[in-house]
């Protein structure tokens, strides 16, 4: 019997300007023991479906029409109290961010016992016993002791395990997992996905897995539904959809995923998306302000080295004490050495906490290194104290941050945001000239003219990241540091931004330091890669060499964790063959 089925449901959010329809005419079904993936980009309405099934839509959202059937019973028209009884007991839910899904002020035990006792009525002792069993099942070592801890004492992956244990408290028949691994590292992602898969098989639980990540879909789902712009594009067996997509949207979405298996020059764009403005190269950069009057007075070393890092160390104090012996430190970066040649893209890859971003912050001067030296354009910039001198070097080096939502000042217009570095470094003679430069910069990164008078919140994530790039280019730097520039963005937008960075690098002869946890992206972008773990560089190699013949065991491990997109590869082989025959 079908576990859950939605029949032509429409979900809407009434507002002053009429009804905003978030999901249109969606019909999906899940069988017991089956994992159904819902994939799509942000704003496609995929999370709304999950929330609607468990009736936790953010008010004033509601199901406008259609029916939801669970185990042969219609559930969308139940009373509030009846719906609450379903939640946790029949339908469980797992959210995206394990950092925020647990009540920070209660121990794991309190939260588990409360939920178990509510659903199973086992009493205090029984619930405690059950809680220990559950924690064991989700793979938390020493559950008896760990149970007494607070959420902040667990790592991200462990916390997500606790969240899963909590979702299992009522022994639900259906679990809705909303981006359960998006906030986690690759290695942890694999463990969590394996765990979910195992639970589905062992307990014959049905699951709806909402995600934007095709790799996750390929790895664990049985069937997949592709959503775009509030509508279902296609639904079917995962192999079929990924291997042989019928709908043009699915096809272009799949083509935009960075390929882990081979390097290609440019990312194919998701052509199905309407608001792409391809940068028109109307002006010739070589005679434009941006290209022309760049300051090349500071020479790179003879061998072309633009940045050299020697024995760089960073240590943070994690607990203070009057006694020196009792102070505890965290060595975030330990004895790191590398050099970057002009014009190349240098990648740093590693899991969270490996010290990647700390290096970037020390190179740009946001952190003062604990020891070691940063040489930039032949000068040890970490040792200069004289401000005007430092500024001259800093101007040559700019940074693009990960989160486009918090890296732009929300109270400034785009015009002022991009003009700020120009005015600060006095690179333009007048306000009018600066304004013209800003307009050109915005055009260069593919934004339309009317963008410059708007505020950041009026733009999407991808557009904001373009603005950040424009701001970074405004000082005419020679060296650009990109710290996870696309990890907060959708695949289609990621493809656009990465293409943009590649173009700009060629046109402006930029040197880039590219930090990412995403191996396929690294493969597409970088010339050389450093693999980091626990603050140390374990392997430094040419990109192709690393991907084809990794030397260090950790590199091998990381590469083995890359979601397998074999189905996609098969498809491309197939199309290659077709092309041959055709």
């Amino acid at each position: 019997m079908t576990l859950l089925a939605t029949k032509n449901i429409c979900i809407g959010f009434p507002s002053r300007h009429g009804m905003f329809v978030a999901v249109k005419d969606l019909s999906i079904s899940v069988e017991p023991g089956e994992i159904l993936g819902i994939v799509g980009e942000s704003g496609a309405g995929k999370s709304t479906v999950g929330n609607a099934i468990i009736s936790l839509l953010q008010p004033p959202g509601k199901v406008i029409s259609g029916e939801v059937w669970f185990n042969g019973q219609r559930i969308d028209n139940l009373s509030v109290e009846q719906k609450r009884r379903l939640r946790g007991k029949k339908i469980g839910m797992i959210f995206q961010d394990p950092q925020t899904s647990l009540d920070p002020l209660k121990t794991i035990k309190q939260q588990l016992v409360e939920t178990i006792d509510l659903h199973l009525r086992l009493g205090r002792k029984g619930s405690e016993q059950r809680a220990i069993e559950l924690l064991e099942q989700v793979g938390i070592p020493d559950p008896k002791l760990r149970m007494l801890h607070y959420p902040h004492q667990f790592s991200g992956g462990m916390r997500q395990r606790v969240v899963i244990a909590l979702a299992l408290c009522g022994e639900p028949e259906l679990i809705i997992a909303d981006e359960p691994t998006t906030a986690l590292d690759v290695s942890v992602q694999k463990q969590i996905l394996d765990l979910l898969r195992k639970l589905c098989i062992e307990k014959n639980v049905g699951m709806i897995l909402v995600t934007h990540d095709m790799g996750v879909i390929a790895e664990v789902t049985d069937r997949v539904a592709v959503m775009y712009n509030s509508q279902l594009m296609e639904i079917g067996v995962t192999q079929q959809i990924l291997g042989n997509p019928q709908h043009p949207y699915t096809r272009s979405l799949i083509s935009a995923i960075p390929r882990p298996d081979k390097r290609i020059e440019r990312f194919p764009l998701v052509t199905y998306i309407e608001d792409v403005i391809e940068p028109e190269d109307e002006f010739d950069l070589s005679c434009h302000w941006l290209g022309r009057s760049r300051d090349f007075s500071m020479q790179v070393a003879e061998d072309g080295t633009i940045l050299q890092v020697e024995n760089l160390c960073m240590r943070f104090q994690i607990s203070n004490s009057i006694f020196k012996s009792k102070r505890r430190y965290l060595d975030a970066v330990k004895q790191v050495n590398f050099s970057i040649k002009e014009g190349e893209t240098f990648g740093i890859v590693g899991e969270s906490g490996s010290g990647k971003s700390t290096i970037a912050r020390m190179v740009t001067g946001l952190y003062q290194p604990y020891s070691g030296a940063v040489h930039f354009l032949g000068k040890e910039i970490s040792a200069i104290n004289h401000t005007p001198q430092v500024l001259a070097y800093r101007r040559q080096m700019q940074m693009v941050f990960q989160d486009p939502f918090s890296s732009l000042n929300a109270r400034m217009r785009v015009m002022d945001i991009v003009a700020e570095p120009i005015m600060f470094h006095k690179l333009a003679s007048s306000k009018e000239e600066a304004q013209q430069i800003v307009l050109d910069l915005l055009k260069l990164v593919g934004m339309s003219d009317d963008a410059y008078a708007k505020y950041p919140h009026q733009f999407s994530g991808g557009q904001r990241q373009r603005i950040s790039i424009a701001r970074a280019l405004a000082t005419r730097p020679r060296f650009l540091i990109c710290d996870e520039p696309t990890s907060a963005l959708d695949v289609s937008v990621q493809a656009q931004i990465l293409n943009l960075l590649k173009d700009l690098q060629q046109e402006l002869n930029l040197t880039m330091m590219f930090i990412s946890h995403d191996l396929p992206v690294i493969r597409q972008m970088c010339d050389r890669v450093a693999v980091m773990q626990h603050g140390q560089i374990l392997e430094l190699a040419k990109t192709e060499q690393l991907f084809t013949d990794p030397q260090h065991s950790y590199s091998k491990h990381l590469l083995s964790l890359m979601p397998k997109l074999d189905m996609l590869t098969q498809r491309s082989q197939k199309t290659d063959l077709q092309a041959l025959h055709g």
Binding site: I54, L56, R84, R85, L86, R87, G88, K89, G92, M93, F95, D97, T100, S101, L102, D103, P104, L105, K106, E114, T115, L118, H119, R146, H149, Y150, H152, Q153, F154, S155, M158, V163, L166, A167, C169, G170, I318, S319, N320, S321, I322
Partner: protein, 327 residues
């Protein structure tokens, strides 16, 4: 924890000395205390002798040094006006003020928090809207006006409650209390409500805002997704998370309640420290003013320290030793 306490205590001492310095130097400009102490027919010589005896001719830093070293052992000198030790005066008046401010602080917490929770949960209900409307009155009307309105309504028109004084008091050792007699309790009602009204509305609005924010968090959504009952979600999970910022404000407000008591005490002729302070200002009674200010700042500093310790108790993430983080 220990090093934290030591650090905070040292900081507190610096704060207290700073307050003493500012207060003491200000009082040098409020007027000549001798004028108010002596009669019209006192000769210049006699005045000069008195001045010398009180140490008013010493240079400023010597006077300040005497003040600090005496204050450190609880000796604030002798009131110029009442001619009795300041510490006795304050000990006599303190119970009235402390009783009034603690009762009104309790009132504002006991009524303010549930009102805040209620208005956050039933955001657009009729009752919450009327609470919100009423709270505007509480925030915007000045205390003395509310006090006078209360006196007019309950004292003059309805004649239900007394409008001035503490009523009958019972002495327990040096402490005098009005809580044990009917007339004492009746006298306490109007001033404590007047004093509490502002804090109550403030706490209500703060709890409401914080609660609304907490109700939008993922862990509340996850608690709902586990099927927990509304009450368990609202009071078990949401309220506790709301309390952290609320504790800070309540702590600060408790100090303010005592300071604000000046106005309420004046309006209701309440024989507390505030009244004493106002009278001392009129009479340029420097020792009393200095002692009062020192006491208020001591209370502020003490409450702040208490709030910091409470924090660590409520929020496990803030344990000062920082519980070992496990993988």
């Amino acid at each position: 924890m220990f090093s934290f306490l030591v650090k905070r205590l040292l900081q507190s001492i610096v704060v207290l000395i700073a307050v003493a310095l500012i207060a003491f130097s200000l009082f040098k400009f409020v007027g000549d205390p001798i004028n108010n102490m002596v009669g019209q027919d006192t000769t210049l010589d006699e005045r000069e002798a008195l001045r010398e005896r009180l140490g008013l001719n010493d240079p400023f830093h010597i006077q300040f040094y005497h003040f600090i070293s005496n204050a450190a052992v609880g000796d604030f000198g002798i009131s110029y006006r009442h001619k009795v030790p300041v510490s006795d005066l304050i000990a006599e008046r303190a119970p009235a003020t402390l009783e009034l401010s603690i009762i009104s602080a309790l009132l504002s917490v006991i009524i303010g928090i549930p009102m805040g929770v209620y208005t956050a949960i039933h955001r657009s209900g009729f009752i919450s809207r009327s609470f919100m409307g009423l709270s505007l009155v509480g925030i915007s009307l000045p205390t003395f006006l509310i006090g006078i309105l209360f006196i007019f309504l309950f004292g003059v028109i309805l004649r239900w409650l007394p409008t001035f004084g503490r009523g009958e008091v019972v002495a327990i050792g040096w402490w005098t209390t009005g809580l044990l007699t009917w007339s004492g309790i009746k006298s306490l009602i109007l001033p404590s409500i007047t004093l509490a009204l502002f804090q109550m509305t403030l706490i209500m609005r703060l709890v409401r805002t914080e609660m609304l924010e907490v109700l939008c968090t993922d862990y509340i959504k996850f608690a709902r997704a586990r099927g927990l009952k509304e009450n368990a979600v609202n009071f078990g999970h949401a309220l506790k998370n709301t309390l952290i910022p609320v504790i800070t404000i309540i702590g600060l407000q408790l100090g303010l309640v005592m300071a604000f008591a000046i106005i309420t005490e004046t309006v209701f002729q309440w024989p507390g420290m505030g009244m004493l302070f106002i009278q001392s200002i009129e009479e340029v009674d420097v020792p009393v003013m200095a002692a009062y200010l020192m006491m208020i700042s001591l209370i502020f500093v003490g409450i702040n320290l208490l709030v910091d310790i409470l924090y660590a108790y409520v929020d496990p993430r803030l344990t000062i030793d920082g519980g070992a983080k496990h993988g």
